[in-house]
Amino acid sequence: MKETAELVHIYLRSSKKFPHIWCAGCGIGIFMNALLRVIDRIGYSKDDVVLVSGIGCSGRLPVYVDFNTLHTTHGRALTFATGIKLAKPHLKVITVMGDGDAIAIGGNHLIHAARRNVEIASFVINNYVYGMTGGQYSPTTPHGVKTTSSPYGNPEHDFDICRVVEAAGAAFVARSTVYHTRLLDRLISKALKKKGFALVEVVSQCPTYSSRWLDLDSPVEMMKWQKENSITMEKARRISKEELTGKIVIGVLADREVQTYHERYQQVSEKLKV
């Protein structure tokens, strides 16, 4: 495996004005590092990789890396990615979204991308909060906690990204945290290689905002929290629903073979041309 310093030289844009916009201790950088590590290991040509993002802290990721990069509108990364993949199927199309981005404003696009099964490897960095706008509750923020838009406690119930996407028919669904870096690498690799729509939920920390309601005062504490609250898929299957409350279930939730939109389209197109 290449050293991080070497990866930095290969994949980060030297012409870009650093430093990046993320707060110290943010988990997005850990994910970015993992993504580049895995892309390098698989050996994709940089010319063939398209990285698409939405809006929010995660939306800023593509600008730093030396691929074909596209920073779209809030919640809509998957729609742009769909157009790119169908117009140029040989490209490796990857989307990076945040929790509010992917499942609040972009929820409709997410379930239909999963159902339609265009080959896109998508990553949702879930830090349970709208970070860039100042710490409002998102669809993954736990019920009852105080945020800047729920000063009396979150009145809503949170929603399980992976189970939604699994139910919508995605070919590959998995979850890791940024603490579990080896698992994260493995899942990113599987998602990138998957023929079909793949989604990995990446549980991450927002040391600026979600730390407040977790009552954890440092990124290190937050990552320890990820470690202590995570449970593998295998273990989760053996324990009761009550015991699972508040746990982060990590591992592969679904991995199945589904014909992609493009394969089907190609078949029809070939027949029509003859």
Partner: protein, 381 residues
Amino acid sequence: MRKLTQEQVLLQGNEACVKGALMAGCRFFAGYPITPATEVMEIMAQELPKAGGVFIQMEDEIASLGAVIGASLAGAKSMTATSGPGFSLMQEHIGFACMAEVPCVIVDVMRAGPSTGLPTQPSQADVMQARWGTHGDHPIIALAPASVYEFLELTIQAFNLSERYRTPVIILVDEVIAHLREGVILPALGDIEIEERPQPKVPPEWYLPYGDPGSGVPPMPPFGEGYRYHVTGLYHDVRGYPTTRIDEVEPLIRRLFSKISKDFERLQWFDSFHTDDATITVISYGCVARAAFQAVKEAREQGLKVGFIKLKILWPFMRRTITKILANSQKVLVPEMNIGQISREVKRVNKGECEVATLNKVDGTPITPPEILKMLEEMQP
């Protein structure tokens, strides 16, 4: 009823639009069903796979234009078609396409609004939405066909303008023209000029995705061919990277405008009839132009000195052409199927020497020749 000549084929407006798009090289369509635009999508679904292109039905109109922009970035000439409610949803991505300079064509078959409105009676009430619908300052190009043939022709031109200026182009057509069937002589492919987006002549390491090569339109290589660059809806520097620097922000927005405004002279597309000696001129577009033309012909037969002009481009507004009309006529009449949208523009550019009258019909039925003729008779000095 007129018979078709041998060379003519009978086409519906929406069908002609697809023919024009395919001739122009359109190879990607994403859309969502909505009357009265759905035929464009249905025919695209049939034809694109045969032409080696891609069709996809998306989950809504926001997604449709998102996919269209994505496909265009990957190098495919791309379009979508919708009507009022869907056009409202698309405004977000029209702004993105303006800012990121991604060529694409959007057909809006106008039906009466606001909201769900009158499905699906004709209207011309989306003219100002096409101009100002997306937030922020931005230039826009909008074309308005008045016949089935023109719908075909202007669809080709919409792609050409879109590629030439790297900007979204809107086709504002009304339900009458979209659903009208007329005999059309299809242009021979060799007779049509097809434009492609400018390509870089420098190697990737020298390429500036948002630099001004002099024309105001930066070259645009497709994703995946060695030119790895960044595209964003944020204000960006010449390399495409986000910026808030005042010396980078203003030049960008100024360039977005000037790349089109420098060519205003080239963008005066109209048909006119007896405008030279007219004391009253009718300014019209879309299906209303057909009624206006008939009314003007009848008025001439009565010996009235009236003229007619049909606008094929609504945005940018053809100030040069219209000010000439205003200078030569004593009065102009702007009949429209809205409360007064293009007439506002005519009044805006009028220096006061001409009287601007309007005829506005908003009951969901087209304006007829007798209605315009009656108005012309009343306006006689």
